[in-house]
């Protein structure tokens, strides 16, 4: 919360879009701003009505350089926007730096995301220390259609204005904690000697010989990838990483996304009744890739680019001690590591048994 806990005394607030940026179609600006207000009205008792003339509680404008509010903008990048805490006159107003390139997508700066953040200030919120929160002070891109207000922000706004009038109280995503003993993963893959652990809209990046582990937004590296990757594997020979979600997959060549549009898993030879892949790993020695779906697995020949005959088979038959519902898998050295819930099973394919059971986040030196 901001110092002194400033807040609006009324719940029904007005806003006005004073001018437009030439970077975007005015209708897209209207939509972005409207969507930004909805982020907050969905989780609180506040309502926002647009007016077209006169003084609104929240005046929104695009400004350049010194715009006479004692907080000059600094040109491209750097400061993107600012807002004033609730109050009369300039209070509650939001200014966007016109020197930025504003967009409705991932190029430049997404107007919806910045507006939603600034409105948090205009309603009385300060910056958050939670790197996943909307109110975290540095910009990071999230696909607007996938945006859900994080729980930290919901807690903030509800502390000021109370709960939403909606009978079903809204909840939001929380930022995963690296050393949380209850941590689970969506997918794990190797990548040029590093390990990538995927979880929601985040991934951890870890080098086996470095003690530090980095938590990043997936969108920071690959704006066109979705969140919630369900399976991933690396083909070391081709220097490619394959990422799966539902019945689609994306390919990274080195660090770059090969295509912006995903391909269908059915092109790999899966039958139509397979709707998603739980986990995958590539065996460097044989060049075979193993895909895990429910209690069964498929084997794909990377050289022939085709599924091997005789599959699917039961996971239990080949990987004794590994149950169904595998979250993630990868091969490192002579072992295969399977992640199931908060546990990790180190499997030795030579003796065909589990040789060690660990916490899922054992790689993070917690």
């Amino acid at each position: 919360l901001l110092d002194g806990n400033p807040k609006w005394e009324r719940k029904d607030l007005t806003y006005r879009i004073v001018n437009y940026t030439p970077d975007m179609n005015p209708a897209d600006v209207d939509k972005a701003i409207q969507k930004a207000f909805k982020v907050w009205s969905d989780v609180s008792p506040l309502t926002f009505k647009r007016i077209y003339d006169g003084n609104a509680d929240i005046m929104m404008s695009f400004e350049t350089g010194d715009h006479r509010d004692n907080s000059p903008f600094d040109g491209p990048d750097g400061f993107l926007a600012h807002a004033f805490q609730p109050g009369n006159g300039i209070g509650g107003d939001v200014h966007f730096d016109e020197a930025e390139y504003w967009t409705r997508g991932s190029n430049g700066y997404n107007l919806f995301l910045v507006a939603a953040h600034e409105l948090g200030h205009a309603l009385g919120l300060s910056h958050s220390t939670d790197p996943g929160a909307l109110m975290y002070p540095t910009y990071s891109y999230t696909e607007p259609n996938e945006f859900r207000l994080p729980q930290d922000d919901i807690n903030g706004i509800q502390t000021v204005y109370g709960h939403s009038d909606n009978p079903v109280q809204p909840t939001g995503p929380t930022t995963p904690v690296t050393c949380d003993p209850k941590l689970t993963f969506d997918a794990v893959a190797t990548m040029r000697g590093e390990l990538l652990f995927f979880k929601g809209r985040y991934f951890w990046r870890k080098h086996p010989q470095m003690t530090e582990v980095e938590l990043n937004f997936i969108s920071l590296f690959w704006p066109n990838l979705p969140s919630g990757i369900q399976a991933a594997y690396e083909n070391v020979e081709r220097d490619q990483v394959f990422l799966f979600k539902e019945n689609k997959y994306w390919v990274l060549s080195g660090y770059d996304l090969v295509y912006n549009h995903p391909k269908s898993i059915y092109d790999l030879g899966f039958p139509k009744n397979v709707k998603r892949i739980n986990a995958a790993f590539n065996d460097e020695n044989s060049g075979k890739t193993y895909f895990f779906v429910g209690g069964k697995y498929w084997r794909y020949d990377e050289k022939r680019q085709a599924m091997d005959q005789g599959y699917p088979k039961n996971i239990m038959n080949e990987f004794r001690g590994i149950s169904k519902n595998i979250d993630a898998a990868f091969q490192n050295g002579r072992y295969i590591y399977f992640f199931i819930g908060t546990r990790q099973f180190q499997f030795d394919p030579n003796v065909k048994r589990v040789v060690r059971v660990m916490k899922s986040n054992s790689w993070f030196n917690c």
Partner: protein, 84 residues
Amino acid sequence: LPVAPGTEDEDKNIQLVENYLQHFYKLETDKQSRFKSKNIEPLTEKLKEMQAFFGLKVTGKPDVDTLEVMKKPRCGVPDIGQYV
């Protein structure tokens, strides 16, 4: 005369750190004497505050990680208190 390599960058970094801390951490600097020792302590304290907020290693020095965060695009929240 040839300029020692890195000097220009170091000046830019000092400027960046000062501007950043003035904007977001209410660092008060006397423009006349900002490079004098009397201002080193408030700057160090504000830097530590900033580093703690972002979960960086708290050194009080503008190391590479700190400068990287300072260079990221971000928002400012002007305090209306000073205008009324």
